[in-house]
């Protein structure tokens, strides 16, 4: 089976003044299409760093990352941006949305960059926003939405262009448990519906419980990979 993501011997060293910190050490991981993976571990264990490496937001000190079989180390900034635009959707912990754009515009933004025509954009964004349960709130600007609603918009934006991979960095960290639960439901639903691969970094036990694969990190190294079949 083709790997959506493949990391080989990834090491990332941050230099802070004279101190060198090994954020990741020799990490190897492969992700297949349609997986729903949870990266877990305490703060500073390297899960966000790993996610950034996979998304091409940062470059590893050594080792290679492959997305859909392409080695991203060989891509320049512009090509990386293109790759993210077409293949990867991001959901961050907070501040996910562009504050000057409405919910719908935020969702349409990625499609706009992809060059999709206005009519299609509108149709798709409306449908997605409906799917994530934000019908009627399309014209609201981010400050007029609740934290949970904002994260839903972020998910909607991430999936709207049907990327093969969605990277979510602590998506529920700023949400109450009810909103968090709803968001997890939404992501699982999308995973199932569109066969979209999810890699989620979190220390939210709710996500860990429901992920099909749990990758545990500690001090920049993978300590455990647990496959579970515990969701409905």
């Amino acid at each position: 089976m083709k790997h959506v993501v493949k990391c080989e011997n990834i090491t990332k060293i941050f230099e802070q003044g004279l101190i060198k910190v090994n954020a990741l050490t020799d990490v190897n991981i492969s992700v297949e299409a349609g997986e729903f993976i949870c990266l877990s571990g305490p703060s500073g264990s390297g899960k966000s760093t790993l996610l950034n490496m996979i998304g091409g937001l940062d470059t590893p000190t050594s080792g290679e990352v492959y997305i859909d079989g392409d080695e991203i180390d060989t891509l320049n900034r512009s090509q990386l941006a293109d790759m993210r635009l077409h293949k990867i959707g991001f959901v961050f912990q907070a501040y996910n949305l562009i504050p000057v754009l409405s919910a719908q515009e935020n969702v349409e933004m990625v499609m706009q960059m992809q060059g999709i025509d206005k009519h299609t954009r509108h149709q798709r964004s409306s449908a997605i926003l409906k799917e994530v349960g934000l019908e009627g709130l399309e014209d609201r600007k981010p400050p007029e939405l609740s934290g949970g609603q904002q994260q839903r918009v972020a998910v909607a934006r991430a999936i709207v262009s049907q990327p093969s991979l969605i990277l979510a960095d602590e998506p529920t960290a700023n949400l109450d448990s009810n909103s968090a639960s709803n968001l997890i439901d939404l992501m699982l639903h999308i995973n199932k519906q569109h066969n979209t691969t999810f890699i989620i970094s979190t220390h939210d036990p709710m996500i860990m419980q429901r992920a099909r694969k749990l990758v545990k990190l500690h001090d920049g190294q993978i300590t455990d990979i647990i496959s579970q079949n515990n969701h409905v």
Binding site: S48, N52, G55, L57, D58, R77, S78, A81, D82, M83, R84, L85, H86, I88, F90, F92, Y95, N96, I98, P99, V100, L101, E105, M109, V110, Q112, M113, G115, I116, D117, R157
Partner: protein, 409 residues
């Protein structure tokens, strides 16, 4: 691509109004800068324009004909025959609107109490009154009425200096054709008023026949000044007659007033320095504002990159904010300048500074003159330099490493 550009426009425009206060302040700075540039240029232009007008009006005309040596040594020997075939032919040029033939020499005017060195002009009143200011500047008494009028017309300031007045006699002294003292009494029949004291103090007018008689001249003139139909014709006319006749020298009034030519050049360069100063103040504002905006929105730029926006688009987006600000500023600034120039009407009265202005040889009313060139230079300076300035913060924004930008709270 078009979609992206449309998106970027929307983003830039909306971001501009995100921090309204800051944008308005910097916009105000740009508007003020543009306004200051244009209005100052208009004022300086007006000043030069007025100086030129005054000079042309002030006896210089558009084109002057002299004996080739007259300018170096304006003495009686350096006069020419104004009725020679060559001169007569020249005067028939269709570009010439008006002309005045003058005897123009240094002289001394003496009253009972004072004396003063002046330039005497022996003129044909009918010609002269059309060519120069004098025809409409006599405020007391009358102007000379014929080429044999026995009167003299002097300036108000000169009358004051000599402690004399209308109706009194004064004595005019000069050197005649044999270099002997030539003197004669004249009765003051008119007092003229000029915008500038020096004009009133330096020139006196007598009828040509009397000047000839007094100086022993016959059929001789010191200069002929021409007014053309259009100022633009000056250079072509001067060029056409440059080598026309060895007994005369034909030149543009600007050559006759080298300090004016210098003044114009000086104004051009000082105007540019002024533009730069205004612009520098503006540029610091623009850079500062944009850098602050970039700093505040670091996460957002990280996010844009994560969402797949290319560094070039981020650069374009931030730069566009500067450009939009500059365009808006330019439009409003230009409109405001235009309105302020309209509001001042004929010009501004600077008579409060009359003393200083007279020292600079300027009138009390300075018109605003907006030239197309000045508008272009001012607008281009702001636009081009401003846009270049905007590149720096934009470049900074585009160079952010997405991971670092996003994790920054």
């Amino acid at each position: 691509m078009i979609n992206s550009i449309r998106l970027i426009f929307a983003l830039s425009w909306r971001n501009l109004w995100r921090n309204k206060r800051r944008t308005l302040i910097i916009l105000f700075a740009i508007i003020l800068g543009v306004w200051a540039m244009i209005v100052t240029a208009a004022f300086m232009r007006g000043m030069v324009f007025q100086m030129l007008e005054d000079t042309v009006d002030n006896l210089a005309g558009h084109v002057q004909i002299h004996h080739p040596q007259y300018l170096d040594d304006p003495v009686i020997d350096n006069s020419f025959n104004p009725q020679s075939a060559a001169v007569s032919k020249l005067l028939q040029d269709p570009r010439i609107a008006l002309s005045s033939t003058r005897i123009r020499l240094a002289a001394v005017i003496v009253s009972e109490r004072e004396s003063s060195g002046i330039t005497m002009l022996g003129i044909d009143p009918a010609q002269e009154s059309k060519v120069s200011f004098i025809g409409r500047s006599v405020v007391e008494g009358r102007f000379l009425d014929s080429t044999s009028d026995n009167g003299i017309v002097i300036g108000k300031a000169l009358a004051d200096k000599l402690q004399t007045r209308l109706g009194k006699r004064i004595v005019l002294m000069s050197q005649d054709i044999n270099n002997e003292i030539a003197d004669r009494g004249f009765r003051i029949v008119g007092i003229f008023d000029a915008p500038l004291d020096p004009t009133e103090k330096s020139f006196i007018f007598i009828a040509k026949d009397n000047a000839e008689k007094m100086l022993g001249l016959k059929n001789k003139a010191s200069e002929i000044v021409l007014r053309l139909h259009n100022t633009d014709m000056v250079n072509s006319l001067v060029n056409d007659y440059a080598q026309f006749d060895k007994n005369i020298d034909v030149m543009s009034w600007l050559k006759a007033e080298p300090y004016l030519e210098m003044m114009i050049e000086l104004m051009d360069s000082s105007m540019f320095i002024w533009y730069l100063i205004v612009f520098l103040a503006m540029a610091f504002g623009i850079i500062n504002t944009l850098l602050m905006a970039v700093f505040e929105r670091t996460r957002e730029f990280g996010l844009f990159q994560a969402l797949g926006q290319k560094p070039g688009f981020i650069l374009f987006q931030v730069w566009l904010e500067a450009v939009l600000m500059i365009i808006v500023g330019l439009v409003i600034g230009n409109i405001l300048s235009w309105l302020s120039v309209l509001a001042t009407g004929d010009g501004i009265d600077v008579s409060v500074f009359a003393r200083g202005m007279e020292m600079l040889n300027m009138s009390n009313i300075i018109p605003f003159v907006i030239t197309f060139d000045d508008l272009i230079v001012a607008n281009l300076t702001v636009a081009i330099l401003g846009m270049l300035t905007g590149l720096y913060p934009a470049w900074r924004a585009s160079r952010l490493v997405p991971a670092h930008a996003i994790t920054r709270i």
